[in-house]
Symmetry: D2
Subunit: 296 residues, 4 copies
């Protein structure tokens, strides 16, 4: 029997860096218009790291503290979109350190909205835009790069236009069929770009818009059908994207039984349950695109 | 030595009720325009509840399950603003149950935004408006009622227009003074109304706007000064409000030292820390208004 | 109309300090037996802080950063029990800074257990003892001091020996009475000491033991009755404690209806619900003890 | 261009079921000794589910509500260890529903400890044993079954016996080398069994003990070295286990600089940071064992 090291990676997780960019009208700093980029960055490196595991020999190890410093230092340059910043970071670790064979950079961006004050946008005051996050995972190896971008915690709900019936039944079935229900979910979507020469902001804004509009407009016979339609809408419109993966909880809204109180409930009063919840995970892909499991 | 029961209250916490209201154009349900009200409701009752504590005699006890049912049943009527719904619930428990001497209803509302789809607002599809919550605490006793409303998780940040210097110094002082820093906080504000005949929606919208604009526009020498100015702005503009209480963490954004890497950092790259954090709590009140500690 | 500053306090919240104490057998450090004290400390100061609120004049302000430094510096001395450390901190802020009129120190301690390795206790390796926290809130003013200690997240459950029946009924009642149910709660208890000359460790260990044993042994007709009995047990046994306050959620375990599947369920299979939950809050006090609202 | 459905699965997540088993001494129920099993169960099914995605045809779909019912119904039988319960559930879904080609059951168990009351163990009263969870993931397909078990949130710390030096250095390195540091982590470990005929309880208890003892006793030159040694200890002792995967955050404990206050800090006072944190992920495997990626 021999025991050996299998798959492994390590890095600094969740460095929370906020980058302020001042676009001046000359003059005093405080007259300039500021931009803000709020990112939580995770670096994970894989490569020739057998020695440190087997004997504690750290010669090949870039300390995670150094990785954190690199995140801050590279953020000093204009960061651009998170995909661009992820690529810069991934290339940095790959090119600087010989033992590193794969650098993976995951970024979650908290968007901020400019405060409206006194009738116009404020030059340097902001509020959180919401719970939704913009995400990207950039993976760099010696001869390839992949960018998977996405969003998380996009909570959507429709109060009608959703049905659920005609499903398999057995001795454990008690759920009544319905032709009108509330459908709610918190979308986590990730889409894989086919190369790295992309208008990241445009692709993100449009993909997000298409998913939301499809959720709203598509009459739903199941959350699976809605999920597939959302992915299809993105792939049909965005040739730079090859694949979309979704994880969508079914956030159950149960019609409260008001009959004991002599009241009707025509899909008006709902109990929003936390757990358990349905969980629907699915991938929508182009047929003519090579798989890339390393990208995720 | 005698041991006795002191202050006590009980109730059902965090009933998550979603109320859908359909404002029809006649015809099919799905052509109607839907409204959504998403509330997490906590009921707490106080009164003559000695027996249950001392002997387990439940005769005076309204089960928390019944309270939950009442929340759902009363939500069947048009709920209106959360302050109105809170008042209806508080009055219900007080008038229905003789042993109840104080009913306190706390509601947190998750706002939803109508989805824009195909160029216009969708009639029945929504997305979460963000992490911010609208709150109210309604307290009803036999001869009085108080409404305290508020908001929580309103995260604000300004990238300049904030200083901190001239503070007390001693042997434990290491913080350098600054004339330009990032100021960030997650506002929890609660304001007490002076009566219950109020345009709740208007008062909320305007109070919120005034707090946000003050945060943005007021040049800050300390978070305390900003807090006070925010409360003052509300009290000056809204005669129906007698008092504002704030709890505002100082969400530190530390300037990263980039000198070891040969880089300057002119307030551009920040490390956003989680803990520890400053915490500023303060009340701004009208001088001519009687205190009402029972309201909070 | 005059607007003025009301109640206010500020400080550094959640400084997470870990203090290692090495009790040596002489010789190499690594042969010594180590002790660990893991505390999250919140300092809140009140006093003459009008100027900073009204004009941003910081002369009276001890920066929260300095407070954090003081926490670390004072932890260099042997910290002892959290009540002792809280008192040292409270006295420090009160005596060092003239504008401070009240210093409140809240500490949550994470207990660690020594790892058993190779048949005996390890001298310097530990594991988390659980989710339960030891808490204290020490309040110091110029002429008085109060210590309120407690525990949180002590989750208890009994599978029988609990009933609930004989309660008030009305049109919203649907809950069936029961003479045998699961009773579960996550105890948050806080007890007020009558002075500061106390064997803190002994008082804590015994109070905790009495509450847990009472929960287990007392046949329960309601969670209120259990709560009261837990407080009574502490007050009867511990003369140094004058008052106990509880906040105890009723963590509902619902008997699952297995009849549709042709199965009986004799209190064997439960669905453990998250929300909503009952919430029971109560105080048990000695009759002959003066109230001390400032202590909480 | 053709768009198609890729990988997908769905199910009911986080059904929180508590199973009470009464082992009687005859006589009254309340004299029996009760056992408690507290499980949060997630079911995920994959198979022939194209129709529901493409057209909303639900004929092949077992509703997640039915899955939840099955969890409750099967829990009515004696559940045994979570691995056994997972296998029973997985086999149930696979054998009952033709379209299902893979059933994956993930269970997290909250352990409870019997309360000691009046000098002995109480027959039916319990307290949470801590934050650590026992986990299992059982995967069943038509011709194979895999069991991966594990634990999460096992927080360990050693106050000495850990070094970190000799690592790669570059222009972004600022971390000083150390020959004595605090090492702390929250272990998430998962180990793959080589078949399903296992003494689950014994394997779990021993694997856990070996990991904890190795963490305590192994002098550490890096967290990677500790991780590998922990996995090696399990594989050497437990022939039924083929592979162990770890995810171990480096929970940094930074030595506080007390020099500005005229104090020495000989690894006594630490600041326990939340974020960012190092993250070490690694696999330890037997050389002679076939990989089984489907199991995870």
């Amino acid at each position: 029997m021999t025991i050996r090291l299998g798959e492994n990676q390590y890095g600094k997780a969740e460095t929370h860096v906020v980058r302020v960019t001042k676009r001046g009208r000359g003059g005093a700093v405080q007259e300039a218009k500021h931009e803000i980029k709020d990112m939580t960055v995770t670096v994970m490196l894989a490569g020739d790291f057998e020695a440190v595991h087997l004997t504690g020999d750290n010669r090949a190890v870039v300390p995670t503290d150094t990785q954190k410093n690199a995140v801050f230092a590279l953020a000093k340059e204009d960061v651009g979109e998170i995909e661009e910043f992820g690529l810069r970071l991934g290339r940095h670790f790959l090119s600087e350190y010989a033992p590193v064979r794969r650098a993976r950079i995951a970024i979650a961006e908290q968007p901020w909205t400019r405060i409206q004050a006194g009738g116009g946008p404020h030059p340097h005051a902001f509020e959180h835009a919401g719970a939704e996050r913009r995400t990207t995972t950039v993976t760099c190896v010696r001869d390839a790069e992949w960018v998977v971008s996405g969003l998380s915690d996009l909570t959507l709900l429709k109060t009608t236009g959703s049905e659920f019936w005609g499903y398999a039944k057995d001795r454990y079935t008690t759920l009544p069929e319905t032709h009108d229900r509330v459908l709610a979910t918190a979308v986590e979507a990730r889409w894989r770009y086919l190369d790295t020469d992309v208008d990241w902001a445009d692709a993100r804004i449009e993909s997000r818009r298409l998913m939301i509009e499809t959720f709203a407009n598509k009459h739903s016979l199941s959350l699976q059908q809605t999920l597939y339609a959302m992915g299809e809408a993105v792939l049909e419109a965005r040739p730079e994207i090859g694949e979309v993966r979704f994880s969508m909880p079914n956030k159950h809204h149960f019609v409260v039984d008001l009959e004991p109180f002599g009241l009707e409930n025509d899909n008006e009063v709902f109990y929003a349950a936390d757990r358990p919840y349905g969980l629907i995970e699915g991938t929508v892909v182009r047929d003519d695109v090579a798989p890339a499991d390393q990208a995720w």
